[in-house]
Structures are given as structure tokens and as C-alpha cells.
């Protein structure tokens, strides 16, 4: 793991807060936001190693958020979370710069593994 914090972006507050708590419990620094705007602002403020990004956000399209984050932080690994069991949305995200994708509902262990892979990948 690069040591850089993880940013969790999802409109479900209950999902975000629990996930952040569980990550922190494992010594992984992490923050959670509920909107795309907040996510972009956060990324502008500080560097994140991995961004877990839900594609369906209340204020803006997940794809746009992905694009903005990659603009601000090209080195950040974005892992897409999608409610659609459709590979196409995730694959499209990968084409647009995402590191990988996960389909909800996802087991915490799988999620953790994916975050580790993303964090250890790269420079």
C-alpha cells in the first residue's frame, strides 16, 4: 500500500461511514464523501492513493467525477463501484482511466483485496 489515504465516494451514507470505519480499523487512512462535487473538492485538497467511486451519484454522473479526478490526480487509482451487474459500465470506466471495477453488493474481503491491489500497483 502506498500509504496515501483512500477516498470513498458513494451517496449511501451508511455504506460510506461503515466502510471508512472498517478501513481505518485495519490501519488504512480513509475518508468518505457523499457527492461528486465533494469528491472533486477532496481530490483537489489532498492526494489519495485509491478512490472508490460509485457511478450513481445524486449531483453528477460518476463518469464525469472519474474524469475530473484523473485530471487533478492522474496517479490516483480509481476503483469503480456499480450497482449494475453489467460489465459494460465498468469496462467503459476502465477505458476512461479507472483502475478496475466492482459490482454491488460486494463482499468486504473482495473489496479490501481490490483496494490493496490498486494501492500496491503503480509507481
Amino acid at each position: 500500500m502506498s500509504g496515501l489515504p483512500i477516498l470513498v465516494v458513494d451517496d449511501e451514507e451508511e455504506f460510506v461511514s461503515t466502510l471508512v470505519q472498517r478501513l481505518r480499523k485495519r490501519g488504512l487512512s480513509s475518508e468518505g464523501v457523499l457527492t461528486g462535487t465533494a469528491a472533486i473538492a477532496k481530490a483537489a485538497d489532498s492526494d489519495f492513493g485509491v478512490v472508490l467511486l460509485d457511478m450513481r451519484l445524486p449531483d453528477m454522473d460518476g463518469a464525469l467525477v472519474l474524469q475530473e479526478i484523473k485530471k487533478i490526480r492522474p496517479d490516483s487509482r480509481v476503483v469503480i463501484l456499480t450497482g449494475h451487474a453489467s460489465a459494460s459500465e465498468g469496462e467503459e470506466g476502465i477505458r476512461n482511466g479507472a483502475f478496475d471495477y466492482l459490482i454491488k453488493p460486494v463482499e468486504f474481503e473482495t473489496l479490501l483485496e481490490k483496494l490493496h491491489t490498486a494501492g500496491n500497483h503503480g509507481p
Binding site: 449511501e12 451508511e14 455504506f15 461503515t18 466502510l19 470505519q21 472498517r22 480499523k25 450513481r56 450497482g83 449494475h84 451487474a85 453489467s86 459494460s88 459490482i103 454491488k104 453488493p105 460486494v106 463482499e107 468486504f108
Partner: protein, 559 residues
């Protein structure tokens, strides 16, 4: 016979009522064409024959009129001349001269240049026959006419012409008698009426026609050509004696009658309309035959044309209906797909949270003092159960999402065995209910096919549904897959009764169904056929060697 056609729920096309609609239209068109073509034909034929008949009647009437007039004039003239000649001699010679032997012979010879006079007699006012010249001298020499009707009449009127009679002379004749100016004696000639006969015989009244003269009593004065000896009661009624020229049209004959000899006699000319019109009737028969042929031709041509036209219309309509049904069906599937996707998506989020919370609680449990926790294991089991149920629910939502994804009409690479399994999973419950075993004979390591999963799944569903319908209860469906020369084949063999020869031929026809009315539209297999065709594959049906029937779907292997 069991039923073998797939049903798409909701595609209720009223095939039966449409069929009778086309039949009705066919009948109507044929009727209209026939009426339009044949009525003018009949009308022309009728007017032509009507006018011809009428013009023939007019022409014949004119001819008959002129013939009757000319014959009447000739006969009247002849009678007048005989009477005048006799009257002239009666004035010229006196009784004594005529009574002198040899003189009457001289007179007879002079008069009889035409050869129509039979004999000549001189009768005194007391009725006694004084002189006679002719072939019947022996017979008439001493005859007294005082009591004779004609004698009384000639003495009173000065002249007399009798009706025709045969008498002992044995030839038809009549007598012309005149008195001298003082009415003291009578000169009488017997005239052969053969002349009338020949005059009438030469009258052109056509075959079946007749010409004769009647007296006031309606007795024939000349022989009938048709050899009748007396008039029928009907003819007597029609042919009023005497009078001016009249034309009667009765009993299939045309009659011309005219009074002659001061209306004592009536000349009758009679033409048989039917015989005279024989040529016309022959022509008319030809016409009728021609019209019948033309009508038959019109009937045949119009029926054939209308039938082929309506068949085309019906075919086009059916194609349109199949297309319409297919579009409606895929629209419905797409809608269901979208709804399923939304529902699944909405459920996935809470599922994620439930699972996460259970996991979180499980983790937090690690921080607790096990000594303080009486039911620690129970908690852990409960959390594990929650997470298992979340996993179970998520496989359902994933399947729903998978279904919706496949309704977007995109072609994806799939393993056909997986699709078979998935399709079968939809029908497992029904199979169990009807005690139908589903046996799989799937080849392992099949290459993938690039195809529209939903559409292909629909085809498999249709075939399986039909197989289930054919089996009813207790039976088996065997699904086999294989690959050969770049073609992947899936076969569905059922243990049903199989299909008849006719049904095998028509099973993919639109609206063909062996199900009873109302339970199948007969469109499912036809849609399946076009789907497989569109996917570049083939669908075939045959009866199995062990009974039942086998549907075989082949598809090209993905490049």
C-alpha cells in the same frame, strides 16, 4: 394430437375471424367483378335478340299485309271479272239465242280461254234447266232449281256467287250466276276454284305457314297447306270473318286476315313465327353459348385473379402481424428488462449495506471480551447467516440484471451450454410439477457463439414450452449440444407423441397450431424460426426414432 406451437403471452391475434374476413372479401370481389363483367354482356345479348325479334316481326307484318292485299285484289278482280263477263253476255244475248242449240257451246268456248269454267247453264225463271254445256249434261239436263237457295237469291239480286263446294263434280268449284236485265232467266257458270289454290299456294308465308279462304261460317274454301280440314275453336275466335286487313299475333303465329268478295269470304295468311325465326334462334343459341363461355371465362379469370390477389394481401398481412408481434414482444421484453434492472439496482444498495453492517458487527465482536459475551458463537453464526442471505439475494438481483442486459439486442459471446442451463432453470419448477425429467447431454468445451442471448433464450424457451405441452405429464426432454465443422447444434428431444407429416411441414408457418382454439396463436415457432434465421443459424424439426419430436437449432461458431 398434442400441441406443438409456442405461445407468446399477450399476443392474441384473432386468426380465425381474420380468415373469414379474407374469405368474405374474396367472395365480395368475385361477385363485383362478375356483376360488372357479366351484366352488360347479358344486357347486350338480351337487347340484341329483343330488337332483332321485334324488327323481324315488323318486317314480316309488312310483308304479310302486302301479300294479303295483293292476293285479295287478284281474287276479287277474278270474281268480278267472271261476274261481269257473265252479266255482259246476259245483256248481249236473249234467252232464245242462248237456248238455241250450239250457241251456248260457242259462248262457253269464248269465255273459257283461261280454262277455269267447268260448265255453263241456262235456267228459266221457273227454275228449269233449259240449256247446258259442259261435262255433266246427263246429270243436270232435267234439273229444276226452283227450290235452290242460290236461285232464289240470284232472282232477287240479279247476281250470285256461291261458296266453294265439291259436289258431284268432284273438284272444288263455285258458281257464278246472273239474270238478264229483266230477271226472267239466269245464266250460270261453274268455275273451278283451283285458280285460288294456286294463287294461295304461291303466297310466301314460309315453312309452317298457311294461306286459305274462309266463308262466313268459317269453313275452308281452299285447301290448307297444312292439310287441316277445319279451324280450331281458338282460330275461329281469332279470325273474325270479313273486315279490313287485320294482323293478329297469337299462339306462336302471325295472322293476316282481310275480307273479300264483299266480306263473304275472308283471306287468311298465317306465318309460323318459330319456324320463320329458326335462323334467328340458331344464332341466338350460338350467342348464348358464346355468352356462357365468356361468362365462364370471366368467372375463372376473376376468381383466379381475386384469389391470388387476396392470398398476397393475406400473406402480407400475416407477415405484418408476425413482425408487429415480434416488435411488440421485444418492446415488452425491453421494458421488463429495464424494470428488472431498476429494481435490482435499488435492491443492491441496501443489500450492500446489510452485508457490510453484518461484517462490521462481526469485526467489532473481535474487540469484545469473550468472557463477557455469553452468546459469542451465536452472534458469529447469525452474522454469517446474514451475509449468506445477502449473497443469495445478490445472485437473484444479478440474474435479473443479467436478463435486462440481454434484452438490449446486443450480440455477445456465450457458451451455449450456459444458456441452456439458464433457460432450463426458468422451467425447472414447471418440469417438476408435470413430472418431466430434463436430461442433459451437453458436449464439454464447446466453442463460444456470438449471438443475441435473449433472443436465443426465447427460442429455447419456445421449444421447451412446446415440448412440455406435447408431453403433458410424465415424460422427459433430452437436451444435447455438439459441434461439427464450425456449426454448433442444440437438440431438444421430447417424449411426446411426435408430429404428423402435415404438421412437420407446417410447424414453422405463422398461425399454424395444433392446440385447440384460444390456447395458442401459432406464432411462437414462426418467431423462433425467424430469430434463428436472423442469427445466421437454422432450426429444423423431425420425429425421433423412438417417438416424440426433435427440434434442432444450429448456429455458427463465433469467429
Amino acid at each position: 394430437m398434442k400441441m406443438y406451437t409456442a405461445t407468446i403471452p399477450g399476443s392474441a391475434i384473432k386468426v380465425r375471424s381474420r380468415e373469414s374476413y379474407y374469405a368474405r372479401q374474396k367472395r365480395l370481389f368475385v361477385l363485383v367483378v362478375i356483376l360488372v363483367a357479366i351484366i352488360p354482356l347479358l344486357f347486350i345479348s338480351w337487347t340484341a335478340s329483343h330488337f332483332y325479334q321485334k324488327s323481324w316481326l315488323d318486317k314480316t307484318t309488312v310483308e304479310l299485309t302486302s301479300l294479303a292485299n295483293s292476293r285479295r285484289e287478284i281474287i276479287d278482280l277474278f270474281l268480278d271479272s267472271q261476274e261481269n263477263i257473265l252479266a255482259g253476255y246476259a245483256e248481249l244475248y236473249d234467252f232464245a239465242w242462248l237456248n238455241t242449240p250450239g250457241n251456248l257451246e260457242k259462248l262457253f268456248k269464248a269465255m273459257n280461254r283461261q280454262g277455269v269454267i267447268v260448265d255453263l247453264g241456262l235456267i228459266a225463271s221457273d227454275g228449269s234447266h233449259r240449256n247446258y254445256t259442259g261435262p255433266f249434261a246427263e246429270h243436270l239436263k232435267d234439273k229444276n232449281y226452283a227450290e235452290a237457295h242460290w236461285f232464289a237469291e240470284v232472282m232477287q239480286n240479279g247476281k250470285y256467287i256461291s261458296d266453294v263446294f265439291t259436289g258431284f263434280r268432284d273438284v272444288p268449284h263455285f258458281i257464278v250466276a246472273v239474270t238478264d236485265p229483266t230477271r226472267s232467266w239466269v245464266l250460270r257458270a261453274t268455275i273451278n276454284s283451283e285458280l285460288f289454290n294456286s294463287l294461295l299456294a304461291s303466297a310466301e308465308v314460309g315453312p309452317g305457314g298457311d294461306a286459305f279462304i274462309l266463308n262466313r261460317q268459317g269453313e275452308l274454301q281452299t285447301p290448307s297447306r297444312l292439310e287441316i280440314t277445319a279451324l280450331s275453336a281458338e282460330e275461329k275466335n281469332i279470325l273474325a270473318t270479313g273486315g279490313d286487313l287485320t294482323i293478329h299475333h297469337a299462339q306462336g303465329y302471325l295472322y293476316a286476315t282481310t275480307g273479300m268478295k264483299s266480306n263473304d269470304w275472308t283471306l287468311v295468311l298465317k306465318t309460323d313465327i318459330a319456324t320463320s325465326l329458326a335462323d334467328f334462334y340458331r344464332a341466338q343459341k350460338r350467342d348464348h353459348l358464346f355468352i356462357a363461355c365468356a361468362a365462364l371465362l370471366v368467372l375463372a379469370v376473376s376468381t383466379t385473379l381475386v384469389r391470388s390477389m387476396m392470398d398476397k394481401v393475406e400473406g402480407a398481412d400475416q407477415q405484418r402481424m408476425v413482425l408487429y408481434d415480434r416488435i411488440r414482444y421485444s418492446e415488452k421484453m425491453a421494458l421488463i428488462g429495464r424494470m428488472a434492472a431498476n429494481v435490482a439496482h435499488e435492491i443492491n444498495n441496501p443489500l450492500q449495506i446489510i452485508g457490510d453492517q453484518a461484517g462490521w458487527l462481526d469485526e467489532l465482536l473481535d474487540d469484545e471480551d469473550p468472557a463477557q459475551l455469553k452468546n459469542s458463537e451465536e452472534y458469529r453464526t447469525a452474522f454469517a447467516k446474514i451475509r449468506n442471505q445477502v449473497k443469495r439475494a445478490s445472485t437473484i438481483t444479478h440474474r435479473l440484471l443479467g436478463f435486462s442486459r440481454s434484452t438490449d439486442g446486443l450480440k455477445t459471446k456465450i457458451n451455449i451450454n450456459t444458456l441452456v442451463e439458464e433457460t432450463v432453470s426458468f422451467l425447472e419448477k414447471e418440469a417438476t410439477n408435470h413430472r418431466i425429467a430434463i436430461r442433459r447431454n451437453l458436449a464439454p468445451d464447446l466453442p463460444e457463439v456470438l449471438t443475441d442471448t435473449t433472443q436465443l433464450q426465447q427460442v429455447f424457451l419456445n421449444i421447451l414450452n412446446n415440448a412440455f405441452d406435447a408431453i403433458g405429464n410424465d415424460g422427459a426432454v433430452t437436451i444435447s449440444s455438439s459441434v461439427n465443422e464450425g456449426q454448433l447444434a442444440v437438440e431438444f428431444a421430447d417424449s411426446g407423441p411426435g408430429l404428423s407429416e402435415e404438421a412437420l411441414k407446417r410447424v414453422f408457418d405463422p398461425f399454424f397450431t395444433t392446440k385447440k382454439a384460444g390456447s395458442g396463436t401459432g406464432i411462437g415457432l414462426s418467431i423462433s424460426y425467424s430469430i434463428v434465421e436472423r442469427l445466421g443459424g437454422m432450426i429444423e424439426v423431425r420425429n425421433g426414432k423412438q417417438g416424440g419430436c426433435i427440434f434442432r437449432v444450429t448456429l455458427p461458431v463465433a469467429p
